[in-house]
Every structure is written in C-alpha cells, then in structure tokens.
Symmetry: C2
DNA sequence: TCCAGGAGCTGGTCTGACAAGTAACCCAGT
DNA sequence: ACTGGGTTACTTGTCAGACCAGCTCCTGGA
C-alpha cells in the first residue's frame, strides 16, 4: 500500500489543448455570473485576438460550449457573437437519452423507472402542492377533458401538460427531467412495437378517469391514493406490451396497495 | 385550437450546419451499435474525404462528440483516429454540476431525489432479490463492519459497495445510474459545506446500524421497512445541512411511515 | 418622410501549411 | 535470437488566409 503510493509518479506534463483553456475561461465566466444569460460573446475574430489563437481554435471552443447548452450561435450578425443562454435541461436530456440508447434499456426497466418516479412525484405533490399549483393541475385536467375524442395528438399533448403541471408543483428539476426523458423514450420505444390502438375513444376515456383520480388524490392530499393512481395508470398503459415474466418485475410496484 | 393547427406552417428550410450532420451520422452509428466502444474512427483526413467537407468541419464535429463523452481523441497517432468510448456518466455529472453552479439544483432537491430513488430501490430489492444477490449484499455489509474505524475513505468505499450490491439485485441500469450519479454529486456538494465530522467513530457506527437495518429488511422481504431505513438513513445524513424550510420539503418522505 | 440599396460586419466553410507527437518498422550490435 | 536505437510515415493541434452568404445599419434618393 505504502509502496504503491511512493511508486505512483504523477504525469510529467499535461498537454492541455488550447481550445480547452478557452472553454474553461468562458465557462467560468458564465458559472460565476460574469456573463449572464442574454449577454453576447465577442465575435469570433475578436475572441481570436483576445485569446491570441487562430479562429479554428476559437470555433472548436465555441462548439464545445454550444454542445453543453451554455451558448447558442446566432448566424451571421454584426451585432455581436454567440448568445449566453439561460440554464436549460437540454444537455441533461441528451445525456440521459443517449445513455438509455447505449444501455439498451428494455421497456420493463423503463416502465419500472417511471412507476418509481411518477408515483413518488404524485405522492409528493399530494403533500407539498400549493393552492396555485392545484389550480393549474385542475386546469390541465379540464383541458384534457376537452381534448377527448379530438384525436391522438391533441389528447397526448394535454396528457403531457397535465403531468408537467404535477411536476411543477414540487419544483424538483431532477425529478422533472428524469420523468420527461423517460416518458419520451418510453413512447418512442412502445410506438415501435404496436400501431395505434383500435378503440381510441374508449382508451382515452379510461386514461382520463385515471388522471381524474390522480387529481382528486392530490387535491384531497392523499399521497397513497396518488401513488397508486399514477402507478396503476402506467402499468395499465404498458401491460399489453409485456410478457408474464416482465410483468412480475413490475407487480411489486402495483401490488403494494396499502403499504408502500 | 383548430386554427392553430392549420396555421402552424412547418419551417421551410433547416439551415443545417454541415458539422451537425456529421455529428448526427457518427452519433447514430454509435447509438445503433454500428460503432462499438473501443473501435476507432477513421483519421480526420479520411473523414474529410468521406463526408466531402473540410478538415475544420470534421474537427468541429469531433469536438461536439467529445464534449458529449462519446469519443476521445488520442493525440497524434498513426494507428487511427478517435476512439469510441463506452458509456460513461461523466457528461451526466457535468450537467448536474453546472446545474448546481447555476443554482438550479440545491442540496434539498438532490436529497429528495435520492430518497425517492434509493428508497424504492431498497423496497424493490426486498421484493425481487434472489438468494445470490442477498448473499452479496450480506458480504458487503460484513465488509462494511470490518471497515469500521479504518478511516473515512475505507468506510465510504464499503458504503458505496453495499449500495451497489442492492442496485445490482434489481438490475435496472437506469435506476442504478441515476442513483450513483446523484450520490456522487450530493457528496461533492455537501463536502463543500462542512469539514469532516468531529466524531467519525460514532457516526460510522450509526451509519452501520442503519445499513444493517436495510439488509435485514431486504433479507426478510419487508419492503416498507427497507424503504423507511433507506430514507431515514439519507435524511439523517444530510439533516444537519438543511434549514427548517428545506427539511419540510423532505419530511413527507420520512413521515410516510406506515402508508407510503 | 419613407423606403431601397449598398457598406460593413458576421458566421460557416475550405484550402494549404507547419510543428509536434507516436506507432511501427528496420537495422545494427550483442 | 533478442535488445536497442533510429528512421519513417502518419497522425493531431494549430495557424493564416480566403471566399461566400446573410444580417444590420446607414445613407441617399424618391
């Protein structure tokens, strides 16, 4: 152990690449608030002069910052360079999405994840929601009712809005992002497996009733009911795509009626 | 509403930048498995010929992919170009870290997230674990006991191993990764706020008892007890860093004793 | 007063070039 | 036969200069 430490030499030099130092400098300026969202970076040619590097190096640094969602190029424009963006979860979105693709997640794992997250989000909302949040959720539920039988896309959009309102009521960006990414990937994955349902009206009506249950549980501050409604809703939605073994993996989350 | 749909024209042209198309092509090749981790991309000059663009364009595309953690440049090297990397949580880490720096994510939100995930993972493990998984978890608990009073690092490593064993017992990579990333970021964030504890022996002994409770709940297939042990453990670990308002945000997850 | 058109800047891309670094090969010496 | 060193061919990192197309702004004419 001790000999290990004594023998571990540190690398002699770090071949720091020039564009990385530029990235670090601009990133620090943004993270420390010296560059605020909406501000404009100098033009590439000016940055080239300030950093004393070639334009290609400046551009590589800008591409990295753009990939991290911190700035956005705005086309040719004499009024300044790239714009500093306000915080967005987009890079988190992309990282999670590519993770899901690379891990070759299957539908049961995704649904299990969503049952965990959405169930607890609903339960938390039932306990922590404000009156304003509840009003928003109710409004989205009404919009969902109005969207009944107006086609798949309209109803799906209202569905998303409803869940977004619930997420907003507990204001935890991590839970929200995980929720939305998982939802997006789940839909993409399940749409590959089956065409649209043959009885959309009946299906939508049932979906609406489930969402109504979730709303009522949140309104009445009943976390257990909210949890169950959210999980049952998810299980029902994807049950048809799973075989018996896969369902067994999810059933603990459904069965856990009065206990968990 | 209907007029909205009719009036929504689609963008006439996408000013797609050349390097973005290159990013998409290489990204798709990786995501679909046509390029597997460890493989090497062609050299920049060869890519330049294949895509029929200039080298600067190829390089900008490579920088974006590198920023996303999908490839890694390997210096000047006649044996090939950039290396395709296996999935890593580094980009997730970076995204979360910058969220914290931009004050979009605070410690209560992180702990809340972990209480949701880890609690349900423990509960699921209590229901779905196999006997082999349980044996591994028990082994890790024993290792944790052996690491008592062997210093902060040794105990922390044993702690991580224990939780990894629980994660492995339900084999949902999405839950596992979210768990580990959140743990890493939480530790980084809380270490900034306070020095090491003054009574490490007592603290470690208490931590060990909590983990023992979790193990026993999983062994006895008591999901509610496992859930509570996991959540209480987290709440206790970070309670000291939170003010009263922040604690109120987490208390629903702790209070939910016999119900949720 | 108002609008059309040019000037000047910008980003996006290409070409060509050079230094520095590494992997592989060959060859001499032991 | 095996080790060691040097050479070579290729790579990346970076720079300089150039061109084009698009956006702003300002000016000059109607």
């Amino acid at each position: 152990m001790a000999s290990d430490q004594e023998l571990s030499f540190t690398p002699v030099a770090k071949p720091a690449r020039a564009y990385e130092m530029i990235v670090d400098q601009i990133e620090n300026a943004i993270l420390t608030g010296k560059l605020t969202p909406g501000a404009r970076l100098p033009s590439e040619r000016e940055l080239m002069a300030q950093f004393a590097v070639g334009r290609a190096t400046v551009r590589e640094a800008l591409r990295v910052l753009e990939a991290r969602g911190m700035i956005r190029g705005r086309g040719p424009n004499p009024s300044g360079g790239a714009e500093v963006l306000p915080f967005s979860t987009e890079s988190l979105h992309k990282a999670l999405t590519s993770m899901i693709a690379l891990e070759q997640l299957d539908l049961p794992a995704l649904v299990q994840f969503r049952m965990v997250i959405e169930g607890n989000v609903a339960a938390l909302s039932a306990q922590l929601r404000s009156e304003e949040s509840l009003a928003t959720i109710e409004a989205k539920l009404t919009a969902m009712h109005d969207a009944l039988n107006r086609g798949y896309d309209a109803f799906a959009a209202a569905d998303v809005d409803f869940h977004k309102a619930i997420n907003a009521s507990i204001s935890n960006p991590l839970l929200t992002v995980c929720n939305e990414v998982a939802r997006g990937v789940t839909i993409k994955l399940s749409e590959l497996r089956s065409a649209r349902r043959t009885d959309p009206e009946q299906f939508q009506a049932h979906q609406y009733r489930r969402h109504q249950q979730m709303y009522e549980a949140i309104r009445d501050r009943k976390p257990v009911a909210a949890l169950r409604a959210a999980r049952d809703h998810l299980y029902e939605s994807f049950e048809e795509f799973l075989d018996e073994e896969q369902r067994a993996q999810l059933r603990p989350l459904v069965q856990a009626t009065g206990e968990i």
